[in-house]
Symmetry: C2
Subunit: 406 residues, 2 copies
């Protein structure tokens, strides 16, 4: 298949692009390199030393024989160039990973909120709009998030995108209807993924586009089969307060004996998936498109459910580092249950990498190996969900301060 990977220089896009070429697909990466620019803005860098996109592509071609094309393109602003690309490349499938993807970054300031909404909404809409305009039968695979469901307890397993509900008619009888699972986003970033869902639903209905939405859990892990093949292919690993996800942050803290910072009680229960499984799922989604006229095909792209406290305890055990419970910068439920269906990917043959298998490797091969690159001042999470919470955070002594004092 001829595939365009939008956001193919990013954390998921890069290993997904390698995996797809390895499975015999032809890949073009389209990326505006905004993730690298945000590193500059925040003054942070990936824990793993990542090569430039040009260098990565050159190395991959040398060792695998697969040539990946690269086009620098801003999906949200360059609609005319996007259409030209569709017209000339004639892709069978496009994978849409070209969005600002950190919840804390999206809540950092009014400017970051505006950027996230404007960039993410226009990126998705431009893709849909271009496919219709070019009259191409392209399958679009969109990366969504488990966060569209929210994390309120509803006493029922979260289905894959659609929820059957009973509605009471005027005459008192009831009928069943399957609805898009009611959105309950927890940040501006998550909100944009909910907006995406509605745009996909409209274009599936009005234009019979073939659309897949992957509601992904929190990704952990760094390397995949392909990125392991050369040090210049290594994937990025973020641990800073904005882009670092919970498990990465614990691993980095463990590597430098920094107490593991659990937000609130750590009772937040979330879904997780290893990066290796994430790229496999994307390939499975690409190979199993919906038919024309079908509604958006939604997969839950996750393999395990854990609460944050549990993860902290696991990493504490592996490493011997202590746990610190700190003020939560987010506005979210303190504790929640979570049951999620992921039958669709399992039935397509996904064989999950579990935390118990991979976590020690991550600690030794990634976090400890690169620990000289860790900037401990960038560990605290400083993007607050509201100004009130931000004020409270600033009035609390930081762990760093506590440790320096001790």
């Amino acid at each position: 298949m001829r595939i365009g990977v939008f956001g193919g220089d990013g954390f998921i896009g890069w290993p997904a692009s390698l995996h797809l070429t390895n499975r015999g697909h032809e890949v073009v990466i389209l990326d505006d390199l905004s993730r690298r620019q945000i590193d500059l803005e925040l003054g942070v860098q990936s824990l793993t030393p990542i090569a430039s996109i040009q260098e990565r592509i050159k190395i991959w071609e040398r060792i695998s024989g697969h040539r990946i094309q690269f086009e620098q393109l801003n999906l949200a602003t360059e609609f005319e160039r996007l259409k030209q690309w569709f017209a000339s490349y004639q892709p069978d499938c496009v994978i849409h990973l070209a969005q600002q993807r950190a919840a804390p970054y999206s809540m950092k300031s009014d400017r970051h909120k505006a950027y996230t909404v404007n960039n993410n909404v226009n990126a998705t809409h431009n893709l849909l709009n271009a496919i219709v305009e070019l009259e191409q039968d392209v399958h679009l695979v969109h990366l969504g998030t488990m966060g569209v469901y929210g994390y309120s307890d509803i006493g029922a397993t979260i289905p894959e995108g659609y929820l059957p509900v009973q509605i009471t008619n005027d005459d008192g009888s009831q009928h069943t209807q399957e609805i898009l699972y009611p959105a309950n986003p927890g940040s501006i970033y998550h909100m944009t993924k909910c907006l995406d869902q509605l745009m996909l639903a409209f274009y599936a209905k009005n234009d019979q586009l073939r659309l897949t939405d992957l509601h992904q859990g929190i990704v952990w892990g760094t390397q995949t089969e392909e990125t392991r093949r050369h040090e210049s292919l290594i994937n990025r690993f973020d641990y800073d307060g904005d882009y670092g996800t919970v498990l990465n942050r614990f691993l980095v803290q463990a590597a430098i004996n920094y107490p593991l910072t659990v937000h609130g009680t750590g009772g937040q229960t979330r879904a997780f998936i290893h990066i290796q499984d994430s790229v496999r799922c994307i390939e499975l989604a690409v190979s199993n498109p919906p038919a024309r006229g079908e509604r958006t095909k939604i997969f839950n792209q996750m393999t395990e459910v854990h609460c944050v406290r549990e993860l902290a305890e696991l990493v504490a055990q592996l490493s011997g580092v202590s746990i610190d419970y700190v003020k939560n910068p987010r506005r979210e439920a303190k504790e929640n249950d979570l049951k999620v269906s992921n039958e669709k990917f399992l039935s397509l043959g996904l064989n999950p990498t579990t935390l118990s298998d991979g976590l020690l490797d991550e600690l030794v091969e990634i976090a400890r190996k690169h620990k000289a690159r860790i900037d401990r001042t960038r560990i605290p999470a400083q993007s607050a969900w509201t100004k009130e919470i931000g004020d409270e955070l600033r009035n609390i002594e930081t762990i760093e301060q506590v440790r320096q004092r001790a």
Copy 2:
């Protein structure tokens, strides 16, 4: 109250601004004049001769003594100026009518789709974002649409925004949850109003903003108590294929003995409201804000339900003009039922103007009076919902051609 009316030069914004000043409020109109620019783009004009915003404001001050301020501002692109305005004016309430509001225009081409999404989403988000950033306790009244509900028969009266549903738990028992009514938009324009709903829901939850969403039916009628007071205060009246709503189009056709063009079978059932009631509803919403911490307060802003065929028959009876059933440029259900609750506005004292009261006046006072200004070539609806429908439309002899041949 100090009120900012965004989009205050438009069809609803202008009479709403007059009404609000008449009720003792202080009003600033903020508008980028895009509606007038779209007239230029389409080569059409309001049937009623409307004065410039500067002239309108001058006349209103002369005859009423109320001074309205005007600020030319593009809400979607001028975020910094918007914040400056909030900081200096310190409004109690803002009314958000600054969106591209025609479904056919939103479906006209890829460029029009992109403009509608980009403009409408950023306009709404900029307002929400600015209110949070400025830490002001401003009540935001947003104009939504009945179209967010879609027009599929669910056998139950459409409630005001929130639907109680039964969800089956994993153990087989059921529980009731009240959800935002599942969105089912019929055009890119309607889709943007569904996106707005989710943004409002997020900001009500995360930032406790006080938000009202008015799900308005199709507006008919031209004059209000205030616009009638001087010929330079007259409201705009659109009849072209993009901006003209169904009843306006029938009235204009009746005035020039052009057969009434019914799309499809005319079985589309929709909700309607007179412009006079629309501005009254806005004033009622302004005066009855939700409390801080409440979810978005949703009103159904409509007073009557009719199917298109019924309206055509009514206008045909009044005028003696015949009816033509033509190919529908839209992708929508041929026939549907519709029952809508509008209890909230009725309980606040709204006393509706009915079609049977006002329709003849509209025909005589507006459509026939200004019939010399009608451009009959702009009557056919030419914006098709898909390229396929567009191709079919172009292959059908137009009514105009049929009439010229006859």
